[in-house]
C-alpha cells in the first residue's frame, strides 16, 4: 500500500511514523501548536479501552487525542 495514504488512527501500538500533512485545516492549527508538525516523528503508544482516544508520543511528550482527530494526521512510514 502507498505509505502516504496512511494516517495516525491506522497505526498500531509501538509503530513510528513521520507526520506528512493534515486533512483538516481547523484541527491542523491546534495540532501544530501542540508540536504535531509536518516532519515530526510520532509514535503510537496505546489506546484507551474501546480503542478511543489514543495516546501518541510527539515532540518529546505524550499527547492524547480522539480517533477521529488522529485520522486527520497523515503519516509516512
Amino acid at each position: 500500500m502507498a505509505g502516504s495514504s496512511k494516517n495516525v488512527a491506522e497505526m498500531h501500538p509501538g509503530e513510528v511514523g513521520i507526520v506528512s500533512g493534515f486533512t483538516d485545516d481547523h484541527l491542523s492549527v491546534k495540532l501544530m501548536e501542540m508540536g504535531c508538525l509536518p516532519g515530526a516523528a510520532v509514535r503510537f503508544n496505546f489506546t484507551a479501552p474501546f480503542g478511543d482516544p489514543v495516546c501518541i508520543s510527539v515532540s518529546g511528550y505524550e499527547l492524547s487525542l480522539r480517533l477521529e482527530e488522529a485520522a486527520t494526521i497523515s503519516i509516512l512510514d
Binding site: 492549527v29 501544530m32 501548536e33 479501552p49 495516546c55 518529546g60 511528550y61 499527547l63 492524547s64 487525542l65
Partner: protein
C-alpha cells in the same frame, strides 16, 4: 500608597510547566483569588518580596499552549497580554518553560516575546533535563531571543533568588520580533496602528486575529478594528497555521544552535509502563472506581467529626447569643438568622476540603488526565466530554466549585451540558435530608445478612442522581444543535509525586471560593427566610403566646414544651406558614401537607434547611445534642388527619426523597450558573427542568407506593 509603583509581574506558561509551584513559592500565603473583571475566570494574585526590599504583585495566568485561545481560561491570557495601556498591564512577563520539553514551550515564548512586553524566560525542571542528559547554552539562548534566561527548580524553590533579581531590574521590551507579520496584512496593521494606539505590529496583528479578546477596548474602538478587518477582508485564523510552522522552524534552528547535548532516547519510557495498567480496560476502570470509592468513603467518614463540631458549635453560639442579647428583632436576626446562616455555610467546609484534597492530588500526580482519557469515549455518548468527569465528581461535594471546574471544557455544548446536569449529582447538602428520611422510612435491618437496608437506600439515591444526570445529558445532546466541533487534544503529563504544598493551596483556594461565592447567597437567603419565618400577617405572631396558652390550657405543659409550641405556632402563622398553606394544593398530590410545604420553601435556599425547619415545625427544642433522633421520633408520630395513619408513610417518604434528589433547591447553584453562562437563560431552564423532574417523579413515586 506606593501601590501604583509596585511592579506587576505576570506568570505565563504551558499547563504542567510548574507555574503553580512557582507562584506558590513566590507568594507563599500572600495570595488571593479574585475574578478577572466581567468574567468568572479565577485570577490568582499575590505579592512577593524582592531582594531590594520592594514588593512585586504577582499574577498567575491560566496555563496555555498558545496565545490563540481555545477555552475561556485561555482567552483571559490573550486579553491581559493584548491590553498594553491599562493600569493592570503587567510590567514584566515571566514565561515558564518545561526544561525537558523546550520545543512546545518555546512556541508560547516566541509569541509572548512578539507581544512586546518585557519578558523573562524561566527554564523549569532543568534537573530532570540534566538527568535525561540534556544541556543548553543559556547565554547563546538569551542572546538569540533577546530576553534574560534563568534556570529554576519550581518544586524545590531553587533559582528563585536569581529570578527575583531579574524581576526588580529594569527591563526593556524584546527588540526584535521572532515572527514578522505577513506582507498581505501590513497595510491593515499599519492602518490599525495609526487609528488606535497599538505598540507594535504583532500586537496589532493579534487585534485583527482575535476579535473576541478585545473587550478592554470599548465599543467604539472595537468597531474601528472590525471596520479595518472588513476593509482588508481579513478573517481570523487565516494565517494561524502558517505562523505556527514559521515559529517552529525558528525554534528548531534555535535549538540546534543552543543545545549542547541532546537527549539520547527520544521516547519517554516510565510513564508508558504505568499507563499500560492505569488505562487498561479492566485494571484501569477497577483502579478508577476503587479510587472513587475511597474518596466518597473518606468524605463521609472523615468529615463527620468536624461537621458535628461545627454544627453543635454554631447551635450553642446561637443559643448563647439568644440568651445574652437583649430581646428584640435585631438580636433575633443575629441569633436565628445570621449565625445559623453562617453555620450552614461552614458545615460544608470539611467535605469540600477533603474532596478537593483528593482531586488536587489526582491532578498533581498526572492521574486526572488519564481519567479523562479513560472516560472520554463513554462520556461522549452522553453529550459530555472526558473532562466532564472532574465536575461530576466534585458535584458530590458541592455543585458550586464543580460548575466552576467546567471552564476547562473547550466545547460550548459539552460545557453547557455539564453545567446543566452537575446539580443532579447528590451533593453533601442533600445528605442530612436523605439521612433523616431514610432513617424514618427504611427499617434498620440487614438484607441477605450483610447489606444494611438504609445504606442500600442511600446508595440508591446517589445512583439515582447520577443516572438522572446521564440521561438528562443524553436528552440535551439530542436537543441542542450546534455546529461547533468537539475535540480532545490533551497532554498526558508525566507521572509525578504530588507537591503537597500545592495540594494545600488548592484546598485553601477552593474552600475560600465556596465560602465567599456560595456564602454570600446563602447569607442573603437565610435573612430573607428569617423574615418570612419571623413575621406574619395580622397580630397572630405577637399574640402567639396567649393563643397557645389558651389552646393548651388543659395540657399542663412544662415551660420548655410551651416555648416549643409557641415557636411552632409562630411558624404556622408566619409568612412562611401562609405560603406553605398556599402551596398545599400543589404539593398534596405528592403526599405532602402544608408543614412539609413550609420546609420545601425554607429549604429552597439550601436543602439542608429542611431538617431545621422540621425541628421547628414539630416544636422540638432547637438545641439538643440528639437532634436527629428527636426529629425522627417526632416525625414518626405525626398523624395524617385524613387517613388517621402516620403522615410519613413510605409513599410520602420516598416521594420526598425523590423530590430532593432531583429538585434544584439551591440558590447558590442558580447564582453560579448565571455567572458561568453569562445570562438567565440556562439557570432558569435548569430550575424549571429540575423542579418539573422532581415534581413528576415524586408524584409517580407517591402514587406507585400508596
Amino acid at each position: 500608597m506606593t501601590s501604583s509603583r509596585k511592579p506587576k509581574i505576570a506568570l505565563v506558561g504551558n499547563p504542567n510547566s510548574g507555574k503553580s509551584s512557582l507562584f506558590n513559592h513566590l507568594t507563599g500565603l500572600n495570595q488571593k483569588i479574585g475574578n478577572f473583571p466581567g468574567v468568572t475566570v479565577e485570577k490568582r494574585t499575590g505579592h512577593s518580596q524582592l531582594p531590594d526590599g520592594t514588593t512585586a504583585d504577582i499574577i498567575d495566568l491560566p496555563g496555555i499552549y498558545s496565545i490563540y485561545p481555545r477555552s475561556l481560561d485561555e482567552q483571559i491570557v490573550a486579553e491581559v497580554l493584548l491590553d498594553h495601556h491599562s493600569p493592570s498591564t503587567p510590567d514584566k512577563i515571566v514565561v515558564i518553560v518545561d526544561g525537558t520539553n523546550l520545543k512546545r514551550g518555546f512556541l508560547l515564548l516566541t509569541q509572548i516575546i512578539d507581544m512586546g512586553l518585557p519578558t523573562i524566560l524561566a527554564l523549569n525542571m532543568m534537573d530532570l533535563a540534566a538527568k535525561a542528559g540534556i544541556s543548553y547554552d543559556f547565554n547563546a539562548l538569551s542572546k538569540k531571543i533577546g530576553v534574560p534566561v534563568v534556570a529554576i527548580n519550581a518544586r524545590k524553590g531553587v533559582g528563585l533568588d536569581e529570578l527575583k533579581k531579574l524581576m526588580e531590574k529594569p527591563l526593556s521590551p524584546p527588540e526584535k520580533p521572532v515572527f514578522s507579520i505577513w506582507p498581505e496584512v501590513e497595510s491593515a496593521v499599519k492602518e490599525l496602528r495609526a487609528t488606535l494606539n497599538v505598540d507594535n505590529d504583532y500586537e496589532a496583528y493579534q487585534f485583527l486575529e482575535q476579535p473576541k479578546s478585545l473587550k478592554f477596548l470599548g465599543a467604539a474602538d472595537q468597531t474601528k478594528v472590525t471596520n479595518i478587518r472588513n476593509k482588508y477582508s481579513f478573517f481570523p485564523g487565516k494565517f494561524q497555521g502558517a505562523e505556527t510552522i514559521q515559529r517552529y522552524s525558528f525554534i528548531q534552528d534555535l535549538l540546534n544552535t543552543v543545545t549542547l547535548k541532546a537527549s539520547d532516547h527520544s521516547w519517554k519510557k516510565n510513564s508508558s509502563r504505568l499507563d499500560q495498567i492505569v488505562t487498561h480496560k479492566v485494571w484501569g476502570y477497577l483502579i478508577f472506581f476503587a479510587l472513587l470509592f475511597l474518596i466518597f468513603q473518606s468524605i463521609f467518614a472523615w468529615a463527620q467529626v468536624p461537621m458535628d463540631l461545627i454544627d453543635t458549635g454554631f447551635a450553642k453560639l446561637s443559643a448563647f447569643l439568644g440568651s445574652v442579647l437583649p430581646e428584640g428583632p435585631l438580636s433575633s436576626l443575629v441569633a436565628e438568622g445570621l449565625i445559623p446562616g453562617i453555620g450552614g455555610i461552614m458545615i460544608f467546609i470539611p467535605q469540600i476540603a477533603i474532596l478537593f484534597a483528593f482531586i488536587s492530588v489526582l491532578e498533581e500526580s498526572g492521574y486526572m488526565a488519564r481519567v479523562v482519557f479513560l472516560m472520554d469515549k463513554v462520556m461522549r455518548k452522553f453529550g459530555l466530554n472526558g473532562k466532564s468527569v472532574v465536575p461530576l465528581m466534585s458535584g458530590v461535594a458541592c455543585a458550586i466549585p464543580a460548575i466552576m471546574a467546567t471552564r476547562t471544557i473547550e466545547n460550548w455544548k459539552e460545557r453547557t451540558i455539564t453545567i446543566f446536569v452537575t446539580p443532579l449529582m447528590s451533593c453533601s447538602a442533600r445528605l442530612p435530608v436523605f439521612t433523616i428520611l431514610v432513617a424514618l422510612i427504611v427499617p434498620d435491618e440487614k438484607a441477605w445478612g450483610f447489606f444494611n437496608l438504609q445504606g442500600l437506600a442511600l446508595m440508591g439515591l446517589y445512583l439515582l442522581g447520577f443516572v438522572a444526570a446521564l440521561v438528562s445529558a443524553y436528552v440535551m445532546k439530542l436537543l441542542i444543535r450546534v455546529k461547533e466541533r468537539s475535540y480532545l487534544i490533551m497532554e498526558l503529563p508525566t507521572y509525578r509525586i504530588p507537591k503537597w504544598s500545592n495540594v494545600g493551596y488548592t484546598i485553601l483556594e477552593k474552600t475560600k471560593a465556596f465560602v465567599f461565592e456560595a456564602g454570600k447567597v446563602i447569607m442573603a437567603i437565610s435573612i430573607i427566610l428569617w423574615v418570612l419565618a419571623s413575621y406574619g400577617p395580622g397580630d397572630a405572631l405577637s399574640k402567639a403566646r396567649e393563643n397557645v396558652l389558651e389552646e393548651s390550657k388543659n395540657l399542663r405543659l412544662t415551660e420548655q414544651g410551651l416555648n416549643d409550641r409557641v415557636a411552632a405556632y409562630k411558624l404556622e402563622h408566619s409568612y412562611a406558614g401562609v405560603i406553605g398553606k398556599g402551596i398545599e394544593p400543589i404539593i398534596r398530590p405528592l403526599g405532602y401537607d402544608w408543614k412539609i410545604g413550609i420546609a420545601l420553601i425554607t429549604s429552597f435556599a439550601a436543602r439542608e434547611v429542611f431538617v431545621g425547619t422540621m425541628a421547628t415545625i414539630y416544636s422540638i427544642g432547637s438545641v439538643s445534642d440528639d437532634d436527629a433522633a428527636t426529629i425522627k421520633d417526632r416525625m414518626k408520630e405525626e398523624v395524617n388527619p385524613e387517613t388517621g395513619g402516620p403522615r410519613f408513610t413510605p409513599a410520602t417518604g420516598f416521594s420526598l426523597l425523590v423530590f430532593y434528589t432531583f429538585a434544584m433547591q439551591c440558590m447558590s447553584t442558580i447564582a453560579v450558573v448565571y455567572r458561568e453562562t453569562k445570562g438567565w437563560k440556562w439557570p432558569l431552564i435548569q430550575l424549571a427542568y429540575m423542579t418539573t423532574l422532581a415534581y413528576v417523579s415524586a408524584f409517580a413515586v407517591f402514587h406507585l407506593l400508596s
